[in-house]
Structures are given as structure tokens and as C-alpha cells.
């Protein structure tokens, strides 16, 4: 016998009614994210901006202030020094130097020389020149765009067009809000962040598709139930699965976040946030979106409030 239920059997929550709140909320969040993206901007890592990242391990606790002042004397432009994980681990970021590819190379040599008299372990060195960073940025945008398009086509192929549009709107919302999180927390936005975003896209669609699958099945089975009720019913039927899967995925991700090391912490954080958003959107956005697109093809399921009233003619037509 199961000892634990996240969601009781036979829930009858009125998600379609809740869209009065979830739609404005999500639109607001999306607009806020876009605004933040264009005003504050992402904290691009060296993958996209070029520059140098060096991770060092000092003997005993690191004196961040003195490292900072020492590196400040090297005339390397913007230098950020921060603790990274344990107190003897330090991450140094140096902005891209003007003067082309060769100028980047001298940075590492300069910094190594600065630490020569100290017993410092160089754990990681990454230098990305201007040419590569530009290419990576292009490739990243292309990848997200291509992923959305490919999935749109797949869902279009497997479902009706309304589902495809709904899925893309839902997913686009997830991506936007996740980008918003990157802006707010000023997380390092790197290649692995693109990987995180793509994974979130995959996961969120996974969730959405499960709900849509059920809606499609119920549409075939119950031809007389009003669309709002049918959507509500479908979401409720899949609710237990949606939350359970999100829960196990989050369990795994939290383990990774807590124990997986500093290098992938922001990657995992983005993913955790994305799973939460993805779960929210597949429950509160994905299905309600469908009501906007005249799903039963009878022209009588408008997107307004009156759609919640059963429409006898419409059912007969369906």
C-alpha cells in the first residue's frame, strides 16, 4: 500500500477558473522578464562576452581583498574576485582585453606571474577570445530557436495546431521567466545556461504533452462535457503524475545542487527554477491556453468568461 500521496484521489480543482489569475500573472512575469532583459541585462559569462576566468585554490583561507588589490594593479580592466565554494577557493574573472586574440593570452601569464611567490593551485583557466564568443552567442540563440521550432513541428504533427501553439506559448513563457531569473540573480549566463534552458524546454514540454495527451483522449471520449469542464477534468486526472514527477526530479536536482560542486551550482539552480516554472505552466497555462483557440472546431467556444457556461448547441455540434 502506498504510504504517501502528494495529491489526493479525485481532485476537482477548478483550474480553468484560476486562469483569471494565472494568465495575468504569467503575462506580467513575462513582461517583467523582457523589461529586465533589456534594462538590467544578463550577466553574460566569458562564453558569450569573451574574457578570462581563473579558479585558484590558496594555501589556507584566501584573502579576497588582497588578491583584489594585487590584481587591480595589473591594469587588466574590470577584474572580479569572489569566493567560490570553500574558503580557500577563489574565482577570478577578467573582462575581455582590447587588442584582439593575442591580448587575451597575456592575461593568464600576467596573473600567473602575480601569484608566483605564493603557493597557489591553478584549478581552472578559461580564456575565450572575441571571435569564439561571438560564434557561441549566435549558436546559443540558434539552438534555443531551433529547439522550439522542432518541437512545435512535432506537436503539430502529433496533435492539432491549437496544441502546438499552446505548447509553444507555454514554453516561451517558461524560457522568458527563467531568463528573468538569470537577470534578477545576476547568475553567470554561459553555455551551460543555454543547456539548462534547453533542458527546461524539454522538461516543460514533456509535462505539457502529458496533459495534452489526456485532453485529446478525453475529447474523444466525452463529447458532451463542456470544454472548460473537460480541461479541468484532464488537468485533475494528470495532477498526481505531474506533481510526482516534478517532485522526484526536484529531489534529484536538489541533491545535485547541494552536493554536485560549485562548478555546476548555477546550472542546477536554473534547472530547479525551470522545473518549478515548467510544472506551474503545464498545469495553469498549457490547458487554459487551449480555450483561446476554438479547440472543438465549432466556432462556439470563445475565449471569454461565458465559455464556462455549458453550451448545449456546441455540444450537439461536437
Amino acid at each position: 500500500m502506498a504510504l504517501l500521496r502528494l495529491v489526493p484521489d479525485n481532485t476537482k480543482l477548478r483550474f480553468m477558473w484560476l486562469r483569471k489569475f494565472s494568465f495575468p500573472l504569467s503575462i506580467l512575469a513575462a513582461i517583467a522578464s523582457i523589461t529586465l532583459f533589456f534594462t538590467v541585462g544578463l550577466n553574460y559569462g566569458i562564453d558569450f562576452k569573451g574574457g578570462t576566468v581563473i579558479e585558484i585554490k590558496t594555501e589556507g583561507p584566501a584573502d579576497i581583498a588582497s588578491i583584489r588589490s594585487e590584481l587591480g594593479n595589473l591594469n587588466l580592466g574590470d577584474v572580479q574576485v569572489q569566493q567560490f565554494g570553500a574558503d580557500d577557493e577563489v574565482l577570478i574573472r577578467i573582462e575581455e582585453q582590447s587588442g584582439g586574440e593575442l591580448a587575451q593570452q597575456s592575461v593568464v601569464a600576467n596573473i600567473k606571474a602575480a601569484f608566483e611567490d605564493q603557493n597557489v593551485e591553478f584549478r581552472r583557466t578559461e580564456v575565450v577570445g572575441p571571435r569564439v564568443s561571438g560564434e557561441l552567442a549566435r549558436a546559443g540563440i540558434m539552438a534555443v530557436g531551433a529547439a522550439l521550432l522542432a518541437i512545435l513541428v512535432y506537436i503539430w504533427f502529433r496533435f492539432e495546431w491549437q496544441f502546438a501553439i499552446g505548447a509553444i506559448l507555454t514554453t516561451a513563457n517558461d524560457v522568458l521567466v527563467t531568463v528573468g531569473l538569470f537577470v534578477i540573480l545576476q547568475l553567470d549566463f554561459s553555455l551551460s545556461s543555454i543547456a539548462a534552458v534547453l533542458t527546461i524546454i524539454g522538461y516543460s514540454l514533456n509535462d505539457t504533452v502529458v496533459v495534452y495527451d489526456r485532453i485529446r483522449e478525453n475529447l474523444r471520449r466525452y463529447k458532451k462535457i463542456p470544454l472548460t469542464d473537460l480541461l479541468d477534468r484532464s488537468i485533475n486526472e494528470t495532477l498526481s503524475r505531474t506533481t510526482l514527477t516534478s517532485f522526484t526530479t526536484l529531489l534529484a536536482l536538489f541533491a545535485l545542487w547541494a552536493f554536485g560542486g560549485e562548478v555546476i551550482r548555477s546550472f542546477t539552480l536554473a534547472m530547479i527554477f525551470g522545473i518549478v516554472i515548467g510544472t506551474y505552466s503545464s498545469i495553469f497555462l498549457a490547458a487554459p491556453f487551449l480555450i483561446l483557440f476554438n479547440l472543438r472546431g465549432d466556432g462556439k467556444t470563445p475565449g471569454g468568461e461565458d465559455a464556462e457556461e455549458p453550451d448545449v448547441d456546441a455540444e450537439a455540434a461536437a
Partner: protein
Amino acid sequence: MLYFARWKIALIALVIALGAITTLPNFFSAKTLQSWPDILPTNKMVLGLDLQGGAYLLYEIDKQDYMQKRLKTLVGEIRTALREQPRIGYTGLGVQGEGAQVRIRDLTKLDEARERLDGLRNPLVNSLFGGQQVYEFALSVSDDGLARFTYTEEGLADRMQSIVEQSIEVIRRRVDELGTTEPNIQRQGSDRILVEAPGESDPQRLKDLIGQTAQLTFHMVDTTMTAQQALQDRPPVGTIILNSIDDPPIPYLLEENALLGGDDLVDAQVSFDQRTNEPVVNFRFNTAGARKFSVVTQQNVGKPFAIVLDEDVISAPVIREPITGGSGQISGNFTVEGANDLAVLLRAGALPAKLTVIEERSIGPGLGADSIEAGKLASLIAAAAVVIFMVLAYGRFGVIADIALAANIILIFGALTLLQATLTLPGIAGIVLTIGMAVDANVLIFERIREEARAGRSAISAIDAGYKRALGTIMDANITTLIAALILFQLGSGPVKGFAVTLAIGIFTTVFSAFTFSRLLVSLWVRTRRPSKLPI
């Protein structure tokens, strides 16, 4: 859905057993593996540079530098061609932008000049487009006597291709001499070379070795005036001023045309000067080089000449006696390592063009080991949490899902080992994520079974319907994730690619273990227990 033919059961068991056998070597040391019988696989998983430590260097060929250098040689060729008897008068010979040009003075000799210059266009051997000969350069001669060479598109592409190939060869020879690691050197795109050296945590020496063009040349020192004078006034035609590697550098006035080049070298070795005990580099010429060297030294006894490496004068000795044996010595205040590296560079030959590092990532062995430990710990905790949770949520069926999960993890490791795919830190993250999501298929199935049971079906029929109905959903859900993973793989460089690989492998193993294998387990359970009530 619950009936399995014998052969199907055998096949499923076989797949899992194969997965287990291929995974097995990862738990043993390389030494133990040597003693294993030959039929057992001994391949281990390939760890990415971020896990085992190492250096990743992306080089780009300096196209401009190459083009300018090549044009300079072309100018020399044009000069020689026009000076041949009978001479053709010219003016304004030189490199202009991305071409070389010359103006023929006597327009009546234009056809003759054109004929001679045509021969310099350099036909490309291996690129005959549609039976038509393609040249490296295009030559245009206008009626007012201006002849201009420009690169053809195919010519440049062809040159870049062979430069990349030659460079890879030279880099390989140089790096092999280091002997520390087995680096992976490969072409990337049209003008890039990727060098991955596992275990090399400080790539400075590697970069020093690869970054040098190592063009060795021998020049006579021009003694008509001192370098100081030349710097103040104007150096005589056909001379150049180059600095020595000393600190502070000493300028030398040299004849621009080299007597001999590094191409004529056959060997270079480090030894120690018997008097000063300083490290020196001994070199030996091939027959042609030895003959040239012998003639030159005979003619110039008592005069200084300079040994130049990439526009730096390493040493400028005076020729005391003719050197006829074809061997010589470079002494230039070397350290042992410096002399050694020079010998390596001379043996490996010069790079055909300058290479620039455009991306560098190196990870120390300490961080790599820490990442592996962290990854292991996180995976174990994630797996334990999910396993416990599934039992709590689904009781006996949860145990079945957990067994399927174990099989899944074994299969992922087995597939990674079998494909020799590179495991990176994000790759481990992909595995952890798969652990979390793998149970999704089982959750879908079990929820469906519950629903069917609530709708009044008998236990067995509910299970059957649960599996049947969940299949479509499972496929749809996994294919969408697979699409994202494939695109990630396309985009991916290094670590991100590793993530995409484990994610994609995870999808296949998940569908197999969570759907097929768990169904087999349920069917075996149903057959032995014949339950009338569902335990979920």
C-alpha cells in the same frame, strides 16, 4: 501487454546483462583489467577534460599573416621572372592590399611579360573543377601595363586546407616529443585546429611549443654599415634589421634573402658546449643543405652570419673556417629546457602559418577529482532519495520502479562505456536529471493503473490497460525531450555535448527499462501471485 514470449524475456535479460558487463570495468583499476580474460570487455568510460584535468586549446590560422607572406614570396618570383634574359623593364613591384602588382614599362613587351607571369599563377594539383585547371592566383593585365595577381577563392581555400593539414602534422610531431600525454589534434571548420591534451593541467609549455612558427633561417650580416647607422638613416636595399633575443635586444643588419632555411635540416639535438658547459643545439643539414652551407662558408670566412628563428636573431657567430661536414651548432645562452624545446621545434619543422589561440580551457587534476567525487555523491543521494520516495508513493510497485531504475542506471553507464562517449561534469548532471525523470514513465503507468482500477477494472486488466494507455504518452513526452537533447548535441562544445549525450542515452534506456523491463517484472509478479487486488 502482460504476456511475454520466452525469447522476449531472454532478450530483455540479455540487454541488461550486456549493460552490466560493459559497465563492470569502470569499477576496477587498469591493472586488474589486464588480468581479465579476453572475452570480457575492458574499456572504461572516457572522462572529459573537466573530470580528468587537461587542456583544451583552439587555434586559428592567421590567414592575413599567411596571405601577406605568400604574396611577398610571389613578389620575389615576379622579380626573378621579369629579370630573366632578355629582361623586361618594370616598376612599382610590390604587395598591394590582398594582391601583388607590377607595372611593365615597355608596353610592346606586354605579351611577353604576360606569358612569363602566367606561369606564376600556380596551378592547383588536386582541384580540377569540371576538367578546368584552377590556379592559386588570378592574373589580370591591363593595357596600360599594370599586371595584378589576386587570390582565387578556390586557391585560398585549397591553401588553407593544406596549411591546416600540414600544421596538424607539425603540431603532432612537436607534441609527441613532449611525450607526456596523448593529445587529440583535429581540424575544426576550415581554418581551425583543436588540441586536447588530457592530464596537461598547465598548457603553457604546450602553448609555447605550438605557438612558435619555428622558421629557422641563416642570413649573412651586412657589414657595409652598423645596425645603428641603418636605424638612423635608411637600411640599404635588400637588407632588414632584426633584434636579438638578448635583454636588452641588440639590432642586427642582415641581408634579407636567407642563405638557407630550416627546410634543409634533418636533425637537431641538445648537447653541452665542452668549454662553457652551456646547453647548445647541434644540427645537421641534408645533402643539398650541406653543399650550400659549405659553399657559403667557404666564400665568407671571417665574416659574421646570423641564425634567425621567427625574426629573432638567436646568435650571430663569425665564420672561422669553412664548414663542410654539413653540421653546425647554435649557442645562445639557452637553459636546458630552452635548448631542448628549440631542438624539438627544429626537428618537427616549421609551421606553414602563424597560429593564434582563440579559446583555451584548462582544468587542473585537483578540480577534476573533486568534480568526480561531488558527482558521485550527488548521484548516490539523488538515487537514494528517488528510490525511497517511490516506495513511499507506490509500495510494492515502487520497488519494481526502483529495480527498473537500477537497470536504467546500469544501461546508461554501459552505453556510455560501449560508445566510448565522453563523460563530463554536465554529463553527470544529465545522469542525475535522468534519475529524477526516469521514474516519470513508471509514474505515468502507475497513475494510469490506479485510475483504471478506480474505474472498476480488475487488477490484471487495470495493469494491462495502464501500460497500454500510458505508452503513447510516454513516447510523446520522451520524444520532445530527445529533440531538445539532439539540438543541444549539435550546438555543443565539450561539456555541453557531454550533457546532451547522457540526456539522449538516458531517454532510450528509460523507455526500455521503465516501460519494457518494469512491465516484465510486473508480469512475472502477476503470474506468481495472481493478485485480485492492486497493491498501489
